[in-house]
């Protein structure tokens, strides 16, 4: 059975017990509690803050706290222009994040360098770290960022979690 499914649950039929695959359950837990690590560098950071404020509440979608610590976060939202001076710091912070981790490149500057085609700007953060979702806009509206978060959630729902888990010690059959 190779198909990966979401959780289907009807309380009238199943009552208090949910039958599902481990993949689907783990993905459901992960996607509904993606804690962002805001790499707020420039103007997009203001829209990121606006997305976290009360009008476009990002915590409705599970991103309850903006954890500024990479060890405690799941998704890094690169918001703003990444300059060459800052590039290796961003890479180091990405390396410190624990698996599983995802990246949203928010705004034109993070996706491709934006309108700053100059000697000091990294032309897209995907030159140093792998990006999952790009958000267009300069700056993107907070609704666009929330849409990106929902797309990321759909992407997370399809991940093959159990296949990626490694076993530390082999199973010993009890004779």
């Amino acid at each position: 059975m190779q198909s990966k499914t979401e959780i289907g649950y009807n309380s009238k039929i199943e009552g208090d017990v949910v039958h599902t695959r481990l993949d689907a359950a783990l993905n459901w837990f992960r996607k509904n509690s993606l804690w962002p690590m805001p790499m707020g560098l420039a103007c997009c950071a203001i829209e990121l803050m606006a997305a976290g404020a009360s009008r476009f509440d990002i915590s409705r979608f599970g991103s309850e706290v903006m954890r500024f610590s990479p060890r405690q976060s799941d998704v890094m939202i690169v918001a703003g222009t990444v300059t060459y001076k800052m590039a290796l710091a961003v890479k180091r912070i990405y390396d410190q994040m624990a698996e599983p981790k995802w990246v949203i490149a928010m705004g034109a500057c993070a996706s491709t360098g934006g309108m700053y085609r100059s000697y000091a700007v990294l032309q897209g953060v995907d030159r140093i770290i792998p990006v999952d979702v790009y958000v267009a806009g300069c700056p993107p509206r907070p609704e666009a960022l929330l849409d990106a978060l929902l797309r990321l959630q759909k992407k997370v729902a399809k991940e093959p979690v159990v296949e990626n888990l490694t076993i530390a010690a082999p199973f010993k059959k009890v004779a």
Partner: protein, 220 residues
């Protein structure tokens, strides 16, 4: 006291190293011919004329002219509410002039930025190192012969840089050329995307030759 009075007092004190006051759009500019005396002139301006606020220090690259760099000091006096501009030229071989951090502390960071962007050194500066680019970056970005796209550099563990894909842009016609063909944006060669005005090409034949002969080494 108006700016013109203050400018005249400054000229009276320092004589002929200061030029005539140039007025443009209500601002007075004085040109200092000897860059080594800039600290003295600024000290006098602060102590005796009351210019206690240094607004800005800028640097201009006159690529193709000699002396190459012009350093521009904007002074302001809170007491008299007057503004004055002092300009001085620095050649490329020496590219050094005394610092004015002894007069105004704010000159510290402005001069570091000019060193970083243009490569002009300031003698006597307490801590002259790069401020906007990283330590060890080998080029001076705001010089006219440095392309907008940048040059590749590599400093492992600190920073790297690659040229940005300009694709022949930015698409702005070059001002000052003889005719529409000379003003076309693509007349600028992308690798040497520094020489803006064709008028400069006319004045410096070796630069013009560099455009025609790729093996030519231009020595400004």
């Amino acid at each position: 006291m108006s700016s013109l009075d203050q400018a005249n007092k400054l000229r009276a004190q320092f004589g002929e190293i200061l030029s005539e006051s140039i007025e443009f759009r209500g601002e007075i500019t004085l040109k200092l011919s000897d860059a080594n005396r800039i600290a003295e002139v600024c000290e006098f301006a602060k102590k005796s004329l009351g210019f206690d606020y240094l607004v800005d220090i800028s640097s201009v690259d006159n690529y193709g002219d000699d002396p190459r760099f012009t350093i521009v000091y904007e002074l302001y006096s809170y007491g008299h509410r007057t503004h004055l501009r002092l300009k001085t030229d620095v050649g490329e071989e020496r590219s050094e002039l005394p610092t004015v951090t002894g007069v105004w502390k704010t000159a510290d960071w402005h001069e570091r930025e000019i060193y970083d962007m243009m490569g002009v050194r300031f003698g006597g500066h307490p801590d002259l190192r790069r401020i906007l680019m990283w330590e060890g970056y080998p080029h001076f970005p705001l010089r006219k012969d440095f392309p907008l796209a940048g040059k590749p550099t590599e400093m492992p563990d600190i920073a790297f840089s690659r040229p940005a894909p300009l694709e022949g842009g930015p698409f702005v016609t070059v001002p000052g050329g003889k005719d529409t063909l000379a003003r076309e944006p693509r007349v600028r060669i992308p690798e040497e995307d520094s020489l803006e005005t064709n008028a400069r090409l006319e004045r410096r034949p070796e630069i013009k030759e560099a455009h025609i002969d790729p093996n030519h080494i231009s020595r400004p």
